[in-house]
Amino acid sequence: MTPEQQEVAQMIIEAVNLEDVALDDIDPQAAIFNDGLGLDSIDALEISLELNKRYGIKIKSGDKHVSDVFASVAALTDYVQAHRVQ
């Protein structure tokens, strides 16, 4: 994982309290929801709050690519780098 991906993975772990998951366990290309980390829509809501708090990013379900944004740690990291305002 790149340092940026590590930062995003750490944010997810903290936002949704994945107690049993270590940073090294996360495959940056694996799905965040369902099969991968097994997160659900409420976790998405928590992650969206954290993205707002840390990076000033506002996720909207109207965004055409919201499922792509949350596809994997790698995809989310790219999105954060492109859209962070702080």
Binding site: S41, L45, E46, S48, L49, S61
Partner: protein, 440 residues
């Protein structure tokens, strides 16, 4: 039956982006779809898009059919609910893994070509069309609740009168249509009033922020869970006419914060899948006022039992809530009768204690300790157990203050903020197993 309201050809009913659809136009789409459905269809309506959902719901009802509204869309649940049905199911929406034979409508055809004059709609068929809803599974398997279109309309008209919904109002609903609360507020309230419904279902706080700014003075229908995330989101403000919350009690400090931030009237509605909403209460400067029954509803007290009597439908529902009457139209909610607990001879409702707990922690739930003599709590909080106990002393009799406090990162609530019994049981077991020496 005041049908005219539901066919209003003038006022906007559903707003989708820049496009407005009147009630008459939406019925026309439903007529068009109905022509393509089998007689007396049995349908599973899984559409998330509100306009699609409404058109499919109406179309099935026009054919005198049944619409199943599942509590969740897991393959297990869908197969459980459709098991044994003796005709192919019309499935509206995506439903991978369904065992029963089905006619699939992954998307809703929104065809407005007139196929039938609205005056040809057989109102007696529509009135008796059935909607099957399911209780949320707090007791195990989903329990089927049958409602007719007519019942839904009458229940909605009471709420419309209570909130004085008019052509000036815009409803923004964050709750899915498949739940009774979402079905009422996101379909029947706008349909039988002149209020307009925003088609989108805002999910993320940024969605809510956008819709609040697009539709100033909206009536925002949501849940305590969603409203809490809205408050946690930086910088969301704006002007909302009224915020309506249900499914669990809204903590008074959240009600106060919402009222101030959005300059809104904050109300709660009370109901269940069986009864639909039947009473409401509003937040005044510092607290909620008493619950007020909608018109033509009354309570029938018989010892510990309370029944809701819906006089204009000639129906009676035994309530599982413990209520005390204030006067003929008003009451206080003491809690769910079946979760009254007794500690050291003192009775209290667990639902009430759980609501009080939320004054002191971010989220949490209380349960009887293994001995059955004390209460324990599982909480999401930063504070120490000692500090939490101290804070709780301000809200409850010391006998109810939890002796063991387990810390978790999240309480596994459903999309609408409820905690299923099975999930709670698993959580309790995990906490007790993991923490031989809890943090206190």
């Amino acid at each position: 039956m005041s049908t005219e309201a539901g066919f209003d050809p003038v006022h906007a009913f559903v707003v989708k982006g820049q496009t407005h659809y009147t009630r008459a136009q939406v019925w026309q789409m439903a007529c068009s779809l109905a022509e393509r459905l089998p007689a007396q269809p049995c349908a599973l309506n899984l559409f998330e898009d509100r306009l699609d959902f409404i058109v499919a719901l109406m179309a099935v009802a026009l054919k005198g059919g049944v619409t199943l509204l599942p509590p969740d869309t897991s393959t297990h649940t869908l197969n459980e609910l459709t098991h044994g049905l003796n005709q192919p199911i019309c499935v509206f929406g995506e439903s991978p893994g369904l065992v029963m034979p089905a006619l699939h409508w992954p998307r809703c055809p929104l065809d407005q070509t007139p196929t039938l004059s609205l005056s040809e709609i057989r109102l007696e068929v529509l009135a008796q069309a059935q909607l099957w809803l399911y209780t949320s599974g707090t007791t195990g398997t989903p329990k089927k609740i049958v409602k007719t279109w007519f019942q839904m309309q009458i229940m909605a008209e009471k709420a419309i009168q209570r909130f004085a919904l008019s052509a000036q109002d815009t409803l923004v609903v964050t709750v899915p249509c498949q739940h009774m609360y979402g079905l009422e507020t996101g379909v029947f309230w706008p349909l039988y009033s002149q209020a307009r419904l925003v088609q989108s279902r805002p999910f993320y706080p940024a969605d809510m922020e956008q819709v609040i700014s697009e539709y100033p003075q909206a009536v925002l229908v949501s849940t305590p869970f969603h409203l809490k995330t809205l408050l946690a989101f930086d910088g969301v403000s704006g002007s909302v006419k009224c915020i309506i919350s249900a499914t669990a009690s809204l903590p008074t400090h959240h009600a106060q914060a919402l009222a101030q931030r959005f300059n809104a009237q904050v109300c709660e509605v009370l109901g269940s899948t069986e009864t639909a909403s039947f009473a409401s209460r509003c937040f005044t400067a510092t607290d909620f006022e008493s619950w007020h029954l909608y018109v033509q509803n009354r309570l029938d007290f018989n010892g510990d039992q309370v029944a809701l009597v819906v006089t204009d439908l000639n129906e009676r529902y035994e309530l599982s809530d413990a209520l005390s009457a204030v006067d003929e139209h008003r009451f206080e909610l003491i809690g769910r009768r079946n979760d009254m607990i007794k500690i050291a001879g003192k009775r209290q409702s667990l639902a009430r204690l759980n609501a009080l707990l939320l004054h002191c922690v971010a989220d949490g739930v209380m349960m009887l300790s293994p001995s059955g003599e004390r209460l324990d709590a599982i909480v999401v909080a930063q504070a120490s157990p000692q500090a939490i106990r101290q804070a709780l002393q301000h809200y409850m009799d010391p006998v109810f203050v939890p002796r063991q406090i387990y810390f978790v990162d999240q309480i596994p609530r459903t999309k609408i903020g409820k905690l299923r019994q099975a999930d709670l049981d698993r959580l309790v077991e995990a906490c007790r197993h993991k923490s031989e020496s809890p943090c206190n």
